[in-house]
């Protein structure tokens, strides 16, 4: 399977196929269990810190975004991609995230074409919970 989308089809404004992720308590615990009791794995613990319930580790939404990029760009992403995510709002048990990326800039470089992208996750209320950027080189050949 070669997941690479042709870079010729992409220009500024091009949106990659998005993902929808359902965040359950079971998945949060499975992801964060090495931490022991924490705001990510224990609802009562989270309440002590003023949260209404447990919150997902920020890394989860960061990794959802990397999945979008891996599916779109394959090796070009896995061998040189970089991504920055700012965690703006908490992700709670039961949230649904819409995981998105859009091309901001496309420019020719000696070894290929560089794509700079805007990346973000929205929850089911339309709030942006994670936002950032990514960059990769689509190598020639």
């Amino acid at each position: 399977m070669d997941p690479v989308i042709s870079v010729d089809e992409m220009g500024p404004g091009y949106e990659l196929p998005y993902l929808m992720k359902f965040v359950t308590f079971e998945k949060m615990v499975q992801f964060s269990k090495d931490l022991g009791n924490s705001q990510h794995t224990d609802i009562e613990f989270a309440k002590q810190y003023g949260r209404p319930t447990a919150i997902a580790q920020g890394l989860m939404s960061h990794l959802f975004l990397t999945e979008v990029l891996t599916r779109a760009f394959g090796r070009n992403w896995l061998e040189g991609g970089n991504i920055t995510s700012n965690f703006i709002q908490s992700v709670f048990i039961g949230d649904t995230l819409f995981v998105k990326a859009k091309v901001k800039e496309k420019k020719a470089e000696e070894d290929g074409t560089r794509l700079n992208l805007e990346t973000w996750c929205e929850n089911q209320r339309g709030q942006t919970v994670t936002a950032g950027s990514a960059s990769l080189l689509i190598r020639k050949g």
Binding site: K27, Q30, S32, G58, L59, G74, L78, E79, F87
Partner: protein, 145 residues
């Protein structure tokens, strides 16, 4: 886990310190495939890397835990630390079965808009010394709630 390193004792240092090694077992990989619902076929079937590769969550969470164990920074009373920002530089995927080394460092401690921040970094390499991933983890120490 216990967070017992006072923030005022933290001294940033550029030196990488080898702290942990782990093997990407099929079970570890499966854990992150399942909890992230990331069923990209290269993580379980063949891939251009001659076999399955690690779902990136496995590398990131192992790196995160190594950073927390080495630098268990405790927020001052009444405050909490939160993961405010994450940067990841992907160099090469890790194959399932690979032994991975984790080096860490805490390179910055600063104040921004009245809040304390620290920057931890982890560098992951395979048996051949090839860099797989650099993970940069910014924590903000702020008020609870």
């Amino acid at each position: 886990m216990e967070f017992n390193l006072p923030l005022d004792k933290v001294v940033p240092d550029e030196h990488w310190e080898l702290v942990e090694e782990f093997v990407i077992t099929p079970e570890l990989n499966r854990r992150f495939i399942d909890c992230l619902e990331d069923h990209f076929p290269w993580y379980t079937d063949d891939s251009p890397y001659k076999g399955p590769i690690a779902e990136p969550g496995a590398l990131h969470e192992m790196a995160f835990m190594a950073m927390m164990r080495r630098f268990p920074v405790a927020p001052p009373a009444g405050k909490q630390s939160v993961h405010a920002k994450q940067e990841s530089q992907f160099y090469y995927p890790a194959r399932v079965g690979a032994k991975v080394k984790i080096e860490v460092r805490l390179t910055e401690k600063y104040v921004k808009r009245g809040k304390d921040y620290i920057l931890h970094e982890a560098r992951l390499t395979d048996e051949d010394g090839r860099i797989l991933l650099i993970s940069r983890h910014f924590r903000m120490i702020g008020e609870r709630g």
